[in-house]
């Protein structure tokens, strides 16, 4: 009985430790889930890409307000669901919102008048995908921008937490890229 207890406890401990080690040591990063409807993703990607190019031109022409308006319209506009167009669709929205917030912040040196609205927008988007998206540069930038906004709002502890999220995500991305480069 004693022998059996030892043997089985050894097996159970080994099983648990083995699974945990293998799962954590093979990297936390996962790729995005694929879209169910590829056409929807393609249409969205074309639209977003073209809008970015238009925003490039508006910024270049000095029409920052127009650029912000264009980004707001696309960010708040129709977007295919994550289930339909995959996580890449969420990343694209994070890219749009990240660029929008960056432009807004660059426009205002101190505390933007609609800081809370911007924070709300970012927080809403960071909760896309249940807040459990695989590491990606778009979401990492959004987390960093959230930190910047919180810092401007004087909420330093919360800002630090957001910066840490961005840093963690960037670290995983860097690990993956370095591995890829070897």
């Amino acid at each position: 009985m004693n022998h059996f207890t030892r043997w089985s406890s050894g097996c159970i401990c080994g099983l648990v430790v083995g699974v945990v080690l293998a799962w954590t040591m093979t990297g936390k990063a996962r790729d995005a889930r694929p879209p169910q409807d590829r056409d929807a993703l393609v249409a969205l990607a074309q639209l977003v890409e073209t809008e970015h190019r238009r925003v490039d031109l508006l910024v270049k022409a000095g029409d920052r307000a127009g650029a912000i308006r264009a980004l707001e319209q696309i960010a708040d506009g129709a977007w295919p669901s994550e289930e339909r167009a995959g996580e890449a669709a969420v990343w694209m929205r994070h890219d749009v919102v990240g660029r929008l917030v960056r432009l807004e912040l660059d426009d205002t040196p101190a505390v933007p008048p609609h800081l809370e609205a911007l924070l709300g927008r970012i927080t809403r988007r960071l909760n896309d995908g249940g807040g459990d998206l695989p590491p990606n540069a778009f979401t990492a930038r959004l987390a960093g921008l959230q930190g910047e906004l919180l810092e401007r709002a004087g909420r330093d502890q919360a800002a630090l937490a957001s910066y840490e999220v961005a840093l963690d995500m960037n670290r995983l991305l860097l690990d993956a890229l370095i591995k890829e480069d070897l």
């Binding site: 030892r6 393609v42 508006l58």
Partner: protein, 224 residues
């Protein structure tokens, strides 16, 4: 007896670890990475530098395509966009400079090089990920350009190899990480008494250093 117990445990660790790794790998086979996207598609640069008017025409076409696919039937973006008239005015204003200026816009999507001494060197690599999956015009693996932030973005020209794309992305990421480090450490300076601020600043510094070294190494393969 104890030694035997340990042997059993480590044998099971090995077996279950291998099985878990295999399971994880097979799960990730059906995933979809940003690098599966090609860098530029129908809206892109392959036709040269599009004017604002042509971009707006394309936008309208893509919006129609989205509508046809039933995207946004509940909250139509298409109808609430800038109205056609204001688009035409802007197009007229902007078309005059579009050709040469889109070229400089393309340059502005590269990370700027001037601000920080530890900012990694960034070569002008070509950006397009080599695509295993069918080509979808979509996001690069780095965010779109901003004007003041060092915009982590991949380069504009197509046809580059996978290695240079990876290097471009490493350097863009290094830029982002070093930018974060600057913010975190400036915040930490305001809270110099608090250990968690200092710790994150140190960690960010290490990450920045590591990313910068990786960027330098891939930008200058001779130095590897």
């Amino acid at each position: 007896m104890i030694r035997k117990h340990h042997r059993i445990m480590w044998a099971v660790v090995f077996v279950s670890g291998s099985l878990a790794s295999c399971a994880k790998d097979s799960m990730s086979e059906r995933t979809f990475a940003a690098s599966d996207f090609s860098q530029r598609g129908a809206a892109g640069v392959e036709e040269g530098h599009p004017s604002v008017a042509s971009l707006q025409n394309r936008l309208a076409a893509y919006e129609a395509q989205m509508s046809a696919l039933g995207i946004g039937e509940d909250s139509p973006v298409v109808a609430t966009r800038e109205d056609v008239a204001s688009r035409e005015v802007k197009a007229a204003e902007l078309d005059s400079f579009s050709d040469e200026d889109t070229a400089s816009v393309a340059e502005s999507t590269q990370p700027s090089r001037e601000s920080r001494s530890r900012r990694p060197r960034v070569k002008q690599h070509s950006a397009a990920p080599s695509v295993a999956a069918p080509s979808v015009p979509g996001p690069s693996s780095m965010p779109s350009a901003d004007t003041e932030e060092a915009a982590p973005s991949v380069a504009e020209d197509e046809g580059g190899d996978e290695e240079s794309t990876t290097c471009t992305n490493i350097c863009a990421l290094a830029d982002a990480v070093c930018g974060l480090e600057a913010r975190i450490c400036s915040l930490a300076n305001k809270h110099s008494e608090e250990a968690d601020y200092r710790a994150l600043c140190v960690r960010a510094g290490q990450d920045c250093e590591r990313a910068a070294v990786a960027c330098d190494a891939c930008s200058d393969p001779q130095g590897r």
